[in-house]
Amino acid sequence: MFHWLEKNPFYFAAAISIVISFAGLIEIVPNFAQSGKPLVGMKPRTVLELAGKNVYMKDNCMACHSQMIRPFKSETDRYGDYSLSGEYAFDRPFLWGSKRTGPDLHRIGNYRTTDWHEAHMLNPPKIVPGSIMPAYDHQFENEADLETAYAEAVTVKNVFHTPYGPAFHRGQEAWDAHKSKVLEDAKKIAADMKDERVKAMIAEGKVPEVVALIAYMNSLK
């Protein structure tokens, strides 16, 4: 049979395709619906938090931070309750990470505050002596992309039926209407911050990346 296959490339390729598809079909498909269920009563992220998640992705925080607390006493002591599948049901993509150069962040919102994050993002070794994390000063100057975050919320609502409620409509008008709510959320975060650049931007109706990021951090509980 093998000799025959080796002279018939079409069937050879077909044989490879069949042999390599098994694993994915058997491992991924059966539990797909089950694994996609959210926890009861869980709410999707606000637009500001989504914008913060996108900052997290843009600056690739997951290169050094995980969001997956494993069911060991040493981890639950350090980070809080172990992670549940349903908690991630609205995360597209998942941001578990694969390396902990820094600590896990899945429940960081339980034990760090806005002003802690502000000071830390400006100068990590000052807050945590010995830290090798770089400062993310540019997040205090770059404007967060709120419109894309809103577009994301509308997309997941329409395509995946993520429960965003009736207000999230397509198009510019709907976004303009929703924007004030996002700015309001941002103001609440910024009220706990000291940085002059942040205050100036908020006063102009703009949201710096760091504010969105902190909103996201605070939502990780």
């Binding site: 390599i20 598809s21 994915g24 694994s35 040493s74 994301e152």
Partner: protein, 488 residues
């Protein structure tokens, strides 16, 4: 009718992709060395402002070495050995040549743009699949072009039976195509939301635990079909060619090939041990990882036994050294992986530096060594000149071998130290170390790793220089060397 006259093979595409292999190899390793140094000396994060942090640069390192260096190496070797084992010249088909050239330019431009996009933080955040959707489409087009080219060449072949290397290249094409397509399924938000926000942004088709499963089914098997399968294809061609020895066992090749095809893909879920994916999937991933030793070692042992009775070549041909060391590192890496996939070991190893340590003894020792050896073997045949310097090749070999050993030993120690410290408790059961203690303790190992990166990079520059001098001023050859590569 089969003619016995030697064919004139057309190496123009193989040459072009060889240049890209060297270019992307250098860039990828340069960035890799920089980010390794950043972990030891954090001040180095501020060289390029917002664009120079470890977090931004890391995907550039991984994607450049995977999709830049390795994939160019796969293309370069395919456009060289594909013709030879199928006994047909690329020049016989204008269509395939044009297709190949389109593939080359699209790939070159696409790779540069995609790299720039990562620098600006345009990323879908799935590891080794960070490119956003427009770049994904370009990747798919390039891949399909290559597939059509390969199938086309197979279609007009004179040698009816496909040589082992061709099996592996075919599998590489099919496997990556399947994995890449499914993992990168995403919905661009711009179009669904009625033209809001960035047109580049997308959301993954899968969420949470499912997304993780699909991602690591991809992530692990991108390694399988990018870093293992085609590289095995290379060694099946280049080792017999260089040594003049026939492959030791056809049956072992069969077992290893089909075994690898079937087993490899199950192992992806070992990246998710102790996570929220269902337990039975974790167990499957773990068990199949251990089974995976068989086909992996099957190939490696087949290679080593091919050298049976000819081990003297190891002492006087540095190219044989490169290839034998590559298969040895392949064995090391494929026993280390299954060990890490055992649940209790994984509990310590996961999230630590042992994982990059494992990756790098595989890629630096196996993938890069084998690709460089392939290029060393091809260069005199493509450029019709002798290798410029054997001495330089020897020194490069020892420098880089030392570098790999420094890399993985330091990361083993770092990883296990960190894993043990995270879980250490005092006599009352309280955690003994705060997180930062487990970071500062790693400084010496990070420094050693950075040093090993510098050494490896210097070795790669020596390689590039050697190839450049071979092209420009190596002694001209009047006829193609049969086995052993001539070198001055």
């Amino acid at each position: 009718m089969q003619s016995n006259a030697a064919l004139e093979y057309d190496y123009s595409l193989a040459k072009k992709f060889t240049f890209l292999t060297i270019l992307f190899g250098f860039l990828g390793m340069l960035v890799g060395t920089l980010i390794a140094a950043q972990m030891a000396f954090p001040e180095l994060n501020y060289l390029l402002g917002e664009y120079g942090t470890f977090s931004r640069l890391r995907p550039i390192h991984t994607n450049t070495v995977v999709f830049g260096f390795t994939v160019s190496g796969i293309f370069a070797t395919w456009f060289y050995l594909g013709q030879r084992v199928l006994k047909v010249s690329m020049a016989e088909s204008k269509f395939l040549m044009v297709l190949g050239n389109i593939q080359f330019w699209l790939y070159f431009i696409g790779a540069l743009l995609a790299t720039i996009s990562l620098l600006f933080g345009v990323s879908s955040s799935k590891e080794y699949a960070q490119y956003e959707w427009p770049f994904d489409i370009v990747v798919v087009i390039i891949w399909v072009l290559w597939g059509v080219n390969m199938m086309g060449l197979i279609g007009i072949r004179r040698e009816k039976a496909l040589y082992i290397s061709v099996w592996y290249y075919l599998a590489c094409f099919l496997g990556i195509a399947m994995l890449y397509l499914f993992n990168n399924m995403a919905i661009p938000t711009y179009f669904v939301s009625g033209g809001l926000g960035s047109p580049l942004h997308s959301v993954s088709m899968y969420a949470g635990t499912n997304d993780a499963l699909v991602q690591w089914w991809y992530g692990h098997n991108a390694v399988a079909f990018g870093f293992t399968v085609p590289i095995v294809g290379m060694i099946y061609y280049f080792l017999p060619k260089e040594s003049g020895q026939a492959i030791y066992s056809y049956k072992l090749s069969l077992l290893s090939f089909w075994g690898l095809m079937f087993v490899y893909l199950w192992a992806g879920s070992h990246h998710l041990l102790w996570s929220t994916v269902p337990d039975w999937m974790q167990t499957m991933g773990s068990a199949f990882s251990v089974v995976l030793i068989l086909p992996s070692w099957g190939s490696a042992i087949n290679m080593l036994l091919t050298m049976k009775g000819e081990w003297n070549q190891l002492t006087d041909n540095p190219l044989i050294k490169f290839m034998v060391l590559a298969s040895t590192f392949y064995m090391l890496s494929t026993i280390e992986g299954p060990i890490q996939a055992i649940r209790s070991v994984n509990a310590i190893a996961h999230f630590t530096d042992w994982i990059p340590g494992h990756v790098h003894d595989g890629v630096l020792g196996w993938v890069v060594f084998m690709i460089m050896a392939s290029i060393f073997h091809m260069a005199p045949r493509m450029f019709k000149r002798e290798i410029y310097s054997k001495k330089l090749m020897e020194s490069q070999f020892w420098l880089q071998t030392t570098a790999v050993v420094l890399y993985f030993t330091s990361m083993w120690i770092a990883g296990i130290t960190q894993g043990m410290m995270w879980r250490a408790v005092d006599e009352y059961g309280n955690l003994m170390y705060s997180f930062i203690d487990t970071v500062t303790v790693l400084h010496p190992y990070y420094a050693i790793r950075a040093l090993s990166g510098v050494m490896y990079l210097i070795g790669f520059i020596m390689f590039a220089y050697n190839i450049y001098k071979t092209m420009t001023s190596g002694k001209e050859l009047t006829e193609e060397p049969q086995f052993r590569t001539p070198m001055a």
